[in-house]
């Protein structure tokens, strides 16, 4: 089991097709002390990073993205044996949508917009 790290030792990946959201989530992560960050604009790029050997402690995964959406990306990552904490972050609130996303293999789901307090709660669970 991974020891509980301070946030500065964590490595996070932001997956979202909206540039403003990527920048905001990066700033939020820096605010809670995460120093090692990457961000990509769709699920396929997230999967590709892992195929190239990268690993992360936390992935913030949007649901609706072109090329490969968050549901599909999460399924693929889990089928590859990836055990990173994957947190779904979406503005889609419907129970069915959330359940579909959770069933893909999320550890947690939060409705956008993400806040500092939500992120601190997420990091405490890593």
């Amino acid at each position: 089991m991974k020891p509980k790290n301070s946030s500065s030792q964590l490595k996070a990946l932001v997956v979202d097709d909206d540039r403003v959201t990527r920048m905001t989530h990066e700033a939020l992560l820096k605010k809670v002390g995460v120093e090692s960050l990457a961000s990509v604009e769709n699920g396929k790029k997230a999967v590709d990073l892992h195929c190239n050997g990268q690993s992360f402690d936390l992935i913030l995964m949007d649901k609706d993205m072109p090329v490969m959406n968050g549901v599909e990306a999460t399924k693929q990552l889990r089928s590859m044996g990836i055990r990173d904490m994957i947190v779904g972050v979406s503005s889609s609130r419907g129970a069915e949508n959330v359940q579909q996303f959770m069933d893909a293999g999320l550890d947690h789901f939060y409705t956008k917009p993400l806040t500092v307090d939500m992120l601190k709660a997420i990091i405490d669970k890593i």
Binding site: D18, R19, V20, T21, T24, L28, S91, P113, V116
Partner: protein, 151 residues
């Protein structure tokens, strides 16, 4: 105008944007991410939003012209993206117009979509102008304590 007076004007202008229902809590969240390392974070984010969202506006306009019949699924998808982008800067009224547009998409109402899109564009342009004025005044006033929470 002295600096304190300028800062009071900036704070008053910002409060007015909240009082008019144009901005919501998300704008405050963005301000709380602004610091010495990122002193212009909010303005950068808002500028980026307007740059990216204007392309979505064009795509929606284009899709509304393809009228035989209107592709409501496509319109709804585009508006979902646009709403997400607007939400990320706390554009409260614009977000509400997005929701209305999406309701018209689900109802299959072409006229409703056209009408609500015209209103959305007006709200979008109005907020953009007000935010530009706000940031211009804020730059003149110089750095201040950020994130005065509105009631």
């Amino acid at each position: 105008m002295d600096r304190n007076q300028s800062r009071r004007q900036v704070a008053a202008m910002k409060q007015s944007l909240f009082d008019q229902g144009l901005l919501d809590e998300q704008f405050i969240q963005l301000e709380e991410l602004q610091d010495d390392a990122n002193p212009n974070f909010v303005e950068e984010i808002v500028t980026l939003h307007y740059r990216d969202s204007s392309r979505l506006i064009t795509s929606i306009e284009q899709a509304l012209k393809e009228r035989n019949p209107l592709d409501f699924n496509k319109l709804d998808t585009l508006m979902h993206q646009f709403k997400g982008s607007s939400s990320s800067i706390g554009a409260k009224k614009v977000k509400a117009e997005c929701n209305l547009f999406r309701e018209y998409c689900r109802a299959g109402s072409a006229e409703g979509c056209m009408r609500s899109f015209q209103q959305l564009k007006r709200e979008y342009a109005a907020l953009r102008k007000k935010l530009e004025a706000y940031f211009q005044l804020a730059r003149q006033a110089g750095p201040q304590e950020t994130a005065c929470r509105s009631k």
